[in-house]
Amino acid sequence: MPAREELVMAARSGDRQAFADLIEAESPGAYRTVLVILHSHAEAQDALQEAFIRAWRDLPSLRDPSRWSAWFRRLLVRAALDQARRERGLGLLSSRLTPGPPPPDPASTVAARDEVARAVAKLSPDERALIALRYAADLEVPDVAAALGIRLGTAKSRLHRALARLRIELGEHR
């Protein structure tokens, strides 16, 4: 498969197969990220689809192909937060948790993961976006800030607050 920058340039020129290759590579990580933010497979798939379509539509405006990842992450998070706002407007998000099929892990591990996931679900969508980018997508904090379009200091303080809330939810008082 061609290098990612070549795929970006080809997709930017209208090559759908190149775009398909590009988003095929992005999909697993991107899906993990939006799933943490939205907590619903259906909503996460909608957000991911919207992000991909926005990416296709706006790709000609991406002047530097090497910035594809940062550019796409920003679209992705925005699509997920838009979806969350719509859901919040409909009063759906806070009352819904739709875990997928249980992974084939020992029961204790599953329970521990579920506990963490439920604690994360109690955060606001913006905080979940921070947590998702930092721990599901494994980005460094500066990249998290860039993806969210906020300053590094803001990202750090919000992350600190989100972790503090999680510690309380999980009974990990310091």
Binding site: G14, R16, A20, I23, E24, S27, P28, Y31, R32, V36, Q45, D46, L48, Q49, E50, F52, I53, R54, R57, D58, P60, S61, L62, R63, D64, R67, W71, R78, D82, R85, R86, G100, P101, P102, P103, D105, A112, R113, V116, A117, V120, S124, D126, I131, A132, R134, Y135, A136, D138, G149, R151, G153, T154, S157, R158, L163, L166, R167, L170, E172
Partner: protein, 363 residues
């Protein structure tokens, strides 16, 4: 195990986070044409009935009754089908109800009563269509000063069309056509006639007020003027919101001794910096003006938009109050710091940047 490790383990567990195997293929199949696969039916230059007959003759499929309804525009059924709470389509969140103006006669003239509608609102000038629908593309027939009225249909327009999909000419239901996500059919009423457009990218569609500011962006309310000041004053936390106004910059002469506010970045020296104003003129200290705090690359981007003459521009900014830096303010001015409007991003402006600070355009 630390909390961070627990988060990594829990949030990266792959087993229940897999996409359907055909997901990417389905997305790719729905990608819109970049140049916009749109048709338009400008009936204005032709007598309405003649145009209808021409359309029917060309297509040979559409029943004359349907075309005439389209040409004559008003479609008045016994049960108006205007959706007060329309279902959203991808990329087109339902706008707040104030943007569904159904009591204007032009709404009916566009056929708005015949089927569900996502948006309906007047434009003071037809030439403002790109402000309302930035992704619509250039449409020379709309480059006029006359007032217009926009109706965005929720679903395909059921009247005649010049594309490959048709409404049924009898009572037989037709298969639901598939439109590219984020696109909608729309009618723009202009100078006494409806003009129909298909598959217009309305994903960034917005109603604009009489000064050209969007009232909402992607379904999120935009606050301006008194509403902005009230929202900023009452906001309980640092959740972001959209603030609109004339973005300008005020650069007063600094006094020899800086005020105490100079100690905090939330109250810059001499109150210099960016302002959101109710009017397109800079008036220092006016109660129709609010200072906004932007720094770093963001400040550079805003300056780029203002240009070398710092002429105020219409702008929508994502902002928040209760910035964490307020904690650094002295106690006697803490409350002022808490209410400082801190800019997170430039969401919209009606002026293109002459050079980009970032490597990509705003989206």
């Amino acid at each position: 195990m630390t909390l961070e490790d627990r988060l990594r383990e829990a949030l990266r567990a792959p087993a229940d986070q897999e996409l359907p195997p055909d997901f990417v293929a389905r997305v790719v199949a729905q990608l819109p044409h970049r140049r916009g696969a749109r048709w338009r039916t400008a009936l204005r230059p032709l007598p309405a009935i003649a145009a209808a007959v021409l359309v029917a003759a060309l297509l040979g499929i559409v029943g004359l009754g349907v075309v005439q309804r389209h040409a004559e525009a008003p479609i008045i059924g016994g049960n108006p089908a205007v959706s007060a709470s329309p279902s959203p389509s991808i990329g087109s969140p339902p706008p707040p109800s104030p943007f569904l103006v159904t009591d204007d006669p032009r709404f009916k003239s566009c056929g708005g009563e015949s089927q569900p509608v996502l948006m309906a609102f007047p434009l003071d000038h037809a030439r403002d269509y790109l402000k309302a629908f930035p992704n619509m593309g250039y449409s020379p027939e709309l480059q006029v000063d006359q007032p217009a009225f926009v109706v965005v249909f929720d679903g395909p327009w059921h009247g005649a069309r010049l594309g490959g999909r048709f409404a049924p000419s009898s009572g037989t239901p037709a298969p639901t056509p598939t439109r590219p996500p984020g696109t909608n059919d729309m009618c723009i009423w202009l100078e006494g006639y409806p003009i129909y457009y298909a598959e217009i990218d309305t994903s960034r569609g917005r109603s604009i007020d009489d000064e050209g500011f969007p009232r909402s962006i992607d379904g999120e309310q935009v606050f301006r003027s008194d509403a902005l000041r009230a929202w900023a004053s009452d906001a309980p936390d640092d959740s972001s919101f959209l603030a609109a106004g004339w973005l300008g910059m005020f650069l007063p002469a600094c006094p020899a001794r800086l005020p105490r506010e100079a100690e905090t970045p939330l109250l810059p020296p001499c109150a210099s910096g960016f302002q959101l104003m109710d009017y397109a003129r800079v008036v220092f200290g006016s109660n129709r003006t609010v200072n906004v705090i932007a720094d770093g690359a963001l400040a550079k981007e805003l300056l780029t938009r203002l240009g070398e003459h710092l002429i105020p521009i219409r702008a929508v900014l994502r902002v928040h109050v209760h910035d964490e830096r307020a904690a650094e303010c002295p106690a006697d001015i803490r409350e002022v710091c808490e209410r400082a409007l801190v800019v997170e991003e430039l969401v919209w402006s009606d002026v293109e940047a002459t050079s980009s600070v970032e490597g990509f355009a705003d989206s």
